[in-house]
Amino acid sequence: MARRRKTYFHYVDQDSLSRISGEPLLTPFPMEGSVSGHHRSPHKGSSVEFAEYREYTPGEDPRRMDWRVFARTDRYYLKEFEAETNLRGQFVLDCSGSMSFGTPASKFEYAKKLISTLSYLYVGQGDAVGLHTLRHKKPQVLPAKRNPSQVQEMLEILGPLKPKGETLLASSLHEIAESVRMRGMIFIVSDMLEDPGDIMDAVLHLRDRKHEVVLFHLFDPQELDFTFDRPTRFVDLEGAGSLITEPTVIREEYLARLNEHVQELRQGCLESQARYHLVRTDSPLVDVIDDFSSGRIGGKAA
């Protein structure tokens, strides 16, 4: 009897699908795709969207010549149209030990759901999606593809994945910027527990490569509220030691530091035209998707 294969389709959030499904998620930046799609391309093509008139230069394809203009003006002009192509989305998942924090669901589990749901939506509209898992040992890269089976493959990778080890976010992002040549969309899903300056350097590197960058900054509610009231020994999930302290004494300073960190990331994203989303893992995923998709659904992206 054949062993029953475990499915991870529960990572795809049905509420989000029912909310977004049917409307394409667009990007404000031109994308380089391999096939026709919903997204603006940097090249001229054969879509119905008029782009410009341009004087004919010998050697160009005479089929694109506008004969009506020639009839009126006796001059050769080319009529050009916007090209529309598909999108190459690359999901970058932080698999460091700190992502395992959170109750009842960890940040990592929440990240899996977020990636799975967005992947489903993008593949559904004909876009290609890929996956980069950032971990010390055996980092996995799933190249972007637009096959419907791509979601299944991603789920196969995400499902058994466990967070472990130190954070390698900034350095990994630099590597991704170098390796992904075609401009596309980079989704970074992480708790961003690295120096904000390093992270923003990597984001700028990606932006230099014409990628659209979206940061999903995950927080467990305990990290944001810090409501501990008795002496506690905090043990670092990435093995950076432990700390015994009176939470009420350092709460104010802790929140100030956290806020400072978030503000630096938020400001860096604003300056580099990256999108920043702070995500509380106790908030429904549909709200996060909703927040992400605002301005991207229907018509032109903002």
Partner: protein, 654 residues
């Protein structure tokens, strides 16, 4: 500070409970896996000093709150010698030295209680915390220890004889010394002594009692840690007070003319009403009182009165009722037979003439040879001039010790030996046309006082050519060079007066009589009362204390001559008992003056206030209760979790 429940101070160990709990909490910490430890490390590293300080202050507040609670349960008392005196604070005996002098019946406008009542109230509060101590009251009038069960029984009417008002004076150093003596004899270990008095200067007589004060200081210094003296100074003066005293009594045929000294303070020119009660028949007299002090000479007709009787003069009511009344008696008198013994014949004549009786009879002359005791029998005044041999000296000494009045004039002879009884200086003479002049004398009272019309005796016009200065006695008049003209000296019950010159032309103009006659006549008049069938005593004096059989003559009941002024018949003689003159003193000692006399100890000073607040020994647990609550409130305030300030909270929106 002392404690009524010192065992509760072991509760101070509880103050360390917050530290122990804090340490236990640190040991009992829970382990929490955490992702964002980088912020925790940063937060702890840069955790502000204020936060750390706040934590330690919180811990301190908790400790202090528990300590305050322990102190509160231990029932602390103020007034200990040291800040923390871990004794039960109950002395064996609590002693009240109660000043019952007449001035203690003064009250103020704000407080209807007399000073004596305030003293009793203060003792009640003073004794309240020490429930196990024996209570003893020693008053200045009786000077006997009186044990009581409860301090609040002091004002019982049944005990008024022991703690009620009196018309006596007080000898506070003497009473204090007797108290210490009693404590010593009774073997009392620890005692708290509360001396409550208005500190009237005349009740202390510090100049005369320096020796007694030294003894008191020595005893209290020796018992420094055992017997503690507390002073309650009640020297509030009355806003208005009228007082009257009898200065002199002039007996005239068919009438009596007392000279009454009227004093007041606090009001201006006013009309007052005085009641003159003659043998129980009152008569109201209106009198204008323009100044603070005046002499009033009412004439009381005795034609229709019995030969022996009494008179009381009552003034208007005021804030000190004890000095509003005075008493006098009259009766048949047997004027004393003044005798003169002068070796100079001229002086003998002058002195006998100057001391003649009202009936115009010159004084008897005593023989110049040896003095005879029989010759002095029934004599009250003896005027003596000349030398005194040893035998005479003994007789004269006995005469004065038994109450006789001796007036001495110096011997003419330079070679006359000085007797041990009274010595004279060398003979001093002036040059021709120069005289010794008298520059000062006591004009308010005594032999040389101004006349009843206010005219002074012409002492300053006396020209004195020769003199021999008496070397003993207190000067009553003195020359311009400061040497005494006339001295007086108390010997036993009698008085010795000594003139420095003779009534002879060669010596002085004393023989013209302008000074000599009034002085000798006053002397004879003063002493005549002793020979009267009536008599006048000071309330609380030695005679009044010894009077056991007496009959109260004036209307009030329940009075005794040793405590209350009034008219009594004692040993068959009608006796007027009056408030002692020294109670008219209006000067009061400051606490520092008394403390200055007791350098070996530091008496605690208590405030003159009402009820329990008047004492500086009182329970102060309420202070620690409030302190505890304040500390807990502070702890609660500091222990509040920091509010999530909007500026620092992490926003989930871009």
């Amino acid at each position: 500070m002392t404690f009524l429940q010192p065992l509760a101070l072991f509760g101070l160990l509880l103050a360390f409970a917050p530290i122990v709990i804090h340490l236990l909490n640190l040991l009992r910490h829970r382990t929490q896996p955490w992702a964002a430890t980088r912020f925790l490390f940063q937060a702890r590293k840069s955790s502000s000093r204020i936060s750390k300080l706040k934590r330690w202050i919180t811990l301190l507040f908790r400790m202090l709150a528990l300590a305050a609670l322990a102190f509160m349960i231990a029932r602390p008392m103020t007034g200990g010698d040291s800040l923390f005196s871990f004794s039960s604070g109950s002395p064996e005996v609590l002693v009240l030295i109660l000043d019952r002098s007449a001035s203690m019946e003064t009250r103020t406008e704000k407080d209807p209680r007399t000073k004596r009542t305030k003293a009793l109230d203060a003792f009640e509060s003073f004794a309240k915390p020490w429930t196990e101590s024996r209570l003893v009251v020693i008053d200045t009038a009786l000077e006997d220890p009186f044990f009581i069960d409860k301090a609040d029984s002091l004002k019982d009417e049944a005990l008024e004889r022991f703690f009620g008002p009196t018309d006596t004076s007080a000898d506070l150093p003497g009473t204090l010394f007797k108290t210490l003596d009693w404590l010593e004899k009774s073997g009392v270990g620890t005692a708290e002594i509360l001396l409550a008095s208005d500190m009237q200067t005349s009740n202390w007589k510090l100049d005369r009692n320096s020796e007694v004060m030294q003894k008191i200081n020595a005893i209290l210094t020796e018992k420094k840690d055992l017997w503690k003296l507390n002073l309650l100074n009640l020297n509030d003066s009355a806003p208005y007070n009228f007082s009257l005293t009898i200065d002199r009594i002039n007996r005239r045929p068919g009438r009596i003319e007392p000279i009454v000294n009227l004093c007041k303070n606090g009001r201006g020119n006013e009309m007052i009403q005085l009641s003159i009660n003659t043998n129980g028949s009152p008569e109201i007299v209106d009198l204008q009182l323009p100044s603070e002090s005046m002499l009033w000479r009412p004439k009381v007709d005795l034609k229709n009165e019995p030969e022996e009787g009494w008179i009381s003069i009552l003034g208007p009511d005021d804030f000190c009722p004890t000095d509003n009344v005075c008493f006098l008696t009259y009766g048949l008198t047997t004027p004393p037979q003044a005798a003169v013994r002068a070796f100079n014949p001229r002086a003998n004549l002058v002195l006998r003439s100057a001391s003649q009786s009202e009936l115009g009879k010159v004084a008897d002359a005593l023989p110049l040879n040896a003095l005879n005791e029989k010759g002095l029998l029934f004599r009250k005044v003896l005027i003596h001039q000349g030398k005194i041999n040893e035998k005479d000296e003994k007789i004269l000494q006995d005469f004065t010790l038994n109450g006789g009045t001796l007036v001495l004039f110096p011997p003419e002879s330079v070679n006359s030996p000085n007797s041990g009884f009274l010595s004279w200086g060398e003979l001093e003479k002036t040059d021709e046309k120069e005289y010794f002049q008298i520059s000062g004398w006591r004009r308010e009272s005594g032999l040389l006082a101004n006349s009843s019309d206010g005219n002074r005796l012409p002492l300053d016009r006396l020209n004195i050519k020769m003199r021999r200065i008496p070397t003993q006695g207190e000067p009553l008049a003195y020359y311009s060079d400061g040497k005494p003209f006339l001295t007086s000296m108390t010997v036993g019950q009698g008085v010795v007066y000594a003139f420095s010159t003779l009534p002879l032309k060669a010596w002085s103009e004393l023989d013209n009589g302008y000074v000599l006659v009034p002085a000798l006549q006053r002397l004879i008049e003063e002493t005549s009362s002793s020979y009267s069938l009536t008599q006048s005593w000071a309330c609380g004096g030695k005679e009044s204390k010894e009077a056991e059989l007496f009959e109260l003559i004036d209307e009030e009941n329940g009075k005794v001559p040793s405590l209350h002024a009034g008219i009594y018949r004692i040993d068959g003689r009608l006796t007027a008992v009056n408030r002692p003159q020294e109670e008219n003193e209006r000067r009061f000692l400051e606490n520092e003056e008394i403390i200055g006399q007791l350098p070996g100890i530091s008496p605690r000073l208590m405030e003159d206030e009402n009820s329990s607040d008047s004492t500086n020994r009182s329970e102060i647990w309420s202070f620690f209760l409030i302190l505890c609550l304040v500390l807990l409130l502070g702890e609660a305030f500091l222990g509040q979790p920091a509010p999530a300030s909007p500026g620092k909270a992490v926003s989930t929106h871009a």
